[in-house]
């Protein structure tokens, strides 16, 4: 172990604590009673009397069950559909030469530079005219559209980097463009798809602003997503304190995110084209 390690390890350890401690705190606080939370916010919970009931109350009383399903449905559809559309668009934009390909690509990229807050007012009225307010479909469409620029940016760069020999090889093997895309190029883009998918997942799962804007109608309570529900609970908690339940809700919301990180992080870093070309 070099001297450098004696310096870097304590620094990294400190960073680890900063990142992990709040999550650990959140986890064990969700198992405490409100009284415990206020009297001793930083102590560990009473191991003999863990408040698992916070979770079941959050799921039912706090309506997190409904919010969870709404969020899950929206997120899954957003990830799948935006990956599919972005992959097709990125593939065409990066590997085919046709009139307008470059302007179109930059048009998509421009979407990365428009702040959501600028677009929200006109978008709101457009959604209203299209009768897409307070509807899951409306929010889904907005999510997909806002996900496209980043997804196309990443995927186009990746498709460009794939060796053209593989595509040509597929054509020689008897594949048309569609099959070459579906059987060869798309599977090869897996690392990029996973990366984009993770970002789309996180972005959608945690998204508050647009959901708040487009699902704020009186009759849209049943459509609320987790971030909206969580906000609702905190607002309610100001009058009728139920922090145990709020923390349990937070943990519920956090779990899928952590699962995705744990399961897929390796995929992102793993290069799949190794071995395709000359050593």
């Amino acid at each position: 172990m070099s001297t450098w390690n004696y310096v870097i390890y304590p620094v990294l350890l400190g960073y680890l604590v900063i990142v992990v401690y709040p999550m650990a705190w959140l986890l064990y606080t969700s198992l405490k009673t409100d009284r415990e939370i206020f009297l001793a916010p930083f102590t560990l919970p009473d191991w003999a009397d863990l408040q698992w009931i916070n979770f079941s109350r959050a799921w039912t009383v706090g309506q997190f069950g409904d919010y969870f399903l709404n969020s899950a449905m929206l997120t899954v559809l957003t990830v799948i559909l935006s990956l599919l559309f972005a992959a097709m668009a990125a593939y065409a934009l990066s590997r085919f030469r046709f009139f307008g390909a470059r302007p179109l690509f930059f048009f998509f990229l421009a979407g990365l530079m428009v702040p959501l807050q600028l677009a929200i007012v006109p978008l709101f009225f457009q959604m209203k005219d299209l009768m897409l307010l307070n509807s899951r479909l409306g929010l889904l469409l907005v999510y997909i559209a806002f996900g496209m620029p980043f997804a196309i940016f990443i995927l186009a760069g990746f498709f460009k980097s794939l060796p053209s020999g593989l595509h040509e090889s597929a054509l020689m093997d008897g594949a048309g463009e569609l099959r070459a895309f579906w059987h060869i190029m798309l599977p090869l883009a897996k690392p990029a798809l996973v990366t984009v998918g993770i970002f789309a997942f996180l972005g959608t799962w945690n998204e508050f602003f647009m959901a708040f804007m487009f699902l704020s109608g009186e009759n849209a309570e049943s459509l609320r997503t987790l971030p909206l529900g969580l906000a609702n609970i905190t607002i309610v908690s100001q009058y009728r304190s139920d922090w145990g339940m709020a923390f349990a809700g937070l943990v519920l919301m956090m779990l899928p995110t952590m699962a995705v990180y744990a399961l897929l992080q390796r995929q992102v870093t793993k290069g799949i084209t190794v071995g395709a070309l000359k050593g």
Binding site: P163, G165, E168, A170, M172, D173, A175, L188, G275, L277
Partner: protein, 366 residues
Amino acid sequence: MADVVLKNVDKRFDKNTVVRNVNLEIRDREFVVLVGPSGCGKSTTLRMIAGLEEVTSGEIHIDGKRVNDVPPKDRDIAMVFQNYALYPHMTVYENMAFGLKLRKYPRAEIEARVNETAGILGIGHLLARKPKALSGGERQRVAVGRAIVRKPKVFLFDEPLSNLDAKLRVQMRTEISKLHNSLEATIVYVTHDQVEAMTMGDRIAVMKDGEVQQVAAPLELYEKPANRFVAGFIGSPGMNFLEGRVVFDNGHAAFDEGSLRLPIPDGMRKALAPWRDREVTFGIRPEDITSVDANKDWQEARQIRATVEVVEPTGSETFLYMTTGRYPFIARVDAFVDPAINTELPLLVNMARAHFFSREDEAAIV
């Protein structure tokens, strides 16, 4: 199997013409090699046959059918790429079966064909592996296997051996030749390596700057190069060239370099008569220059003296890098000849095997 015909084929990228007026008739079951230095248009020509590049003008026919507008998948052609282009996410088996699956062969037949082909190429034990777990030579075999498993009309090889080490390259060379014999396949093979071209091809098309210079059988190409480029490109080390004039006196013809005068054999005199007192290039292959004590039965030998600069023994023979007059040249002499550097050495030049090229268009005169 099928023949491939290229008629007046041109390829332009924007304003750059990379292939110019190529005419080539590749007969059924023939092994034709396209050879030339990099950038000569040989790969582009191959890719046009494959359908990966569009033909700017001219026509390509495969098996009697015009294929200019036929997409690659419908041309029934297989291609082995320089970098193999194996699908990295598929096993060797899946790589080989992919083309058959697309053509909707029944599963049992796919399995039988893949196994048979794997057996021929000795890659049966690799079928479950992914390409990244293979060595360069094994990837090469899989790439060939993927091409032959489909039994297409025509095989295209795009510099398939250039990523292998020297020994493996020689081994694969003979294997591909054997494969050609057993498959009775039409093969178009692109390489920049003239040794590969000479050893493998039934006929060789030498290309330069997008144009075909000469199409001929290997030995014909070697013995009767159509121009100075072909003469210099084919053969290793290359042909020696000296610039000079054709002179006639007392009814005898000679090549006059200034400091050196070589008699032209009577057999060539007629062809060179119109070139009297004009500038020509004289070409002679290294093996047609030898040491005076070599026991060669050369009728038209002429002795010259030259200075030794480098001695390159290879074991079976020795190459001498020499200069005479203004020109460097290489002689291929017997292995026992071992002259000291910078000494002057008498050498025999076999004038019966001399070549002469026009200085204007570099075409062969004789």
